[in-house]
């Protein structure tokens, strides 16, 4: 691993060799950048969203070395040698990840701004706990703010994706929670 040298003078560029969505990337970036800024501006991976930039919204979540983190609060200087998975890394070839398919099926995105963070956080959960309960889903997504859906369709979608990933048949009909007379004002 090419470690950051003991003295990286400010105003100098940073050589950043790391892995993004399974591919090795080797680039030179401004040394003050965050991982979020590198992903979006230097790698063109704009799926990861700029939200509050202060850790208060969760829109910029990525998986870094197996852990769900907020890329707006990871300094690029601390990323050499590490491995990041962004929302772009969920898809397997032409196929959507079951989470992505279920978010579409369940109307789990309205404006869509929180969706990449939700998807990544949900993937992190299901990778570790494929049998996550609704309560565990709500807890795992409690660092991602959605101002549109009221969360219920998102929880439905993650539950459904869990069933797909476990090879269980989807219960019919697939209707969003709001249509079942939930607390969401409908």
């Amino acid at each position: 691993m090419d470690l950051v040298p003991l003295t990286t003078p400010s105003r100098e560029k940073l050589r950043l060799a790391f892995t993004v969505n399974g591919e090795p990337r080797d680039l030179v970036v401004e040394s003050y950048k965050t991982l979020l800024e590198v992903l979006r501006e230097d790698l063109g991976l704009t799926g990861t969203k700029h939200g509050c930039e202060l850790g208060e919204c969760g829109a910029c979540a990525v998986i870094l070395d197996g852990e769900l983190v907020l890329s707006c609060l990871v300094a690029a200087v601390e990323c050499p040698g590490r491995s990041a998975t962004t929302v772009e890394g969920l898809r397997q070839g032409p196929e959507l990840h079951p989470l992505q398919q279920c978010f579409a099926d369940h109307g789990a995105a309205q404006c869509g701004y929180c969706t990449p963070g939700m998807l990544v956080a949900a993937k992190w959960l299901l990778d570790r706990n494929p049998r996550a309960t609704r309560g565990e889903i709500a807890e795992a997504l409690s660092g991602q703010i959605c101002r549109c859906t009221g969360y219920l369709q998102i929880f439905d979608a993650v539950e459904a994706a869990g069933r797909t990933l476990r090879g269980e048949p989807a219960p019919a009909p697939l209707l969003p929670s709001v249509h079942r007379g939930s607390t969401n004002g409908r």
Binding site: P5, T8, K33, L54, L68, L73, A75, E78
Partner: protein
Amino acid sequence: MMRLPRFRYLAPRKLSEAAAALADLGTQASVLAGGTDLLPNMKRRQQTPATLVGLREIRALRARSGDPGSGMTLGALTRLSEIEHDSAIAANWPALAQAAASVATPPLRNMGTLGGNLCLDTRCSYYDQGPEWRAAIGYCMKKDGEICWVAPGSPRCWAVTSTDTAPVLCALGAEVTLVSAQGERRIPVEDLFADDGIEHLTKKPGEILSAVHLQKPTPDARSTYVKLRRRGSFDFPVLGIAASARLRADGTVEEARIFLSGTGSRPTNAAEAVAFLAGRKLTDEDVLREAAESIAHVARPLQNTDFSMSWRKQAAREFAARALRNLLP
């Protein structure tokens, strides 16, 4: 969009190298652990260190030693999510697991460290703002200005300690090791904090908090942490109550320690409530109510966090009672 200011970055691999760098750079440098407190503050230009000394390559800071039978030492870089999910900690120091689980959100707990949570910058609604906002009010004494907007006649800063783990570690009688180029010292967590919104840590600029030492719990030890905040996630404590006690089988309090977060610049010691409780039965509802009243009395809120002050005072009584009830088997 808020960018980080430019900074120089050092990545020492040994604690001694980090301590040497800090000795050399003094107040121009900050240590960087999880980054969840420092980096937002840097983006808002509340803290503008010229150099960041990254601790993540220092393996010793992730070490854990000991066990519940003899007391446990946790490296300062132990992540809050590790503490939250540790069954030995949950069984022996439940308040610590509860406090760690209540910090911020899952991704922030994956990043944030125990040492970082202890050293969390104090917070205030006049300070935790962007540069334009702070410029518009002429800044405050904590950063770039002269006066305290919370108490304009005050000679001191009233920014509030907002860490969840600090009151718990005070209540548990835990200690921390501070390492500098001159050597190391071990102090009670309680002594890590000073009653000032600006100089809120007694840790010197050249010192690195390297480890937290948890005492062996006695068989009759109980501990709890309750947290008042607007949302069940994200928010800092408006009031955090950490209590630990040794109880006899009949509910008589042998010994107790109670500390609060969110009510002053340092964790507040509810010493009067503790003295009152000693030798009394916590199972007696009148005793519990009077102790809760006493705890609420020292929870003196200022108008610089969330909620109205009068509501917070009322809520403090209920939360204190809740914490005390949690101590009962």
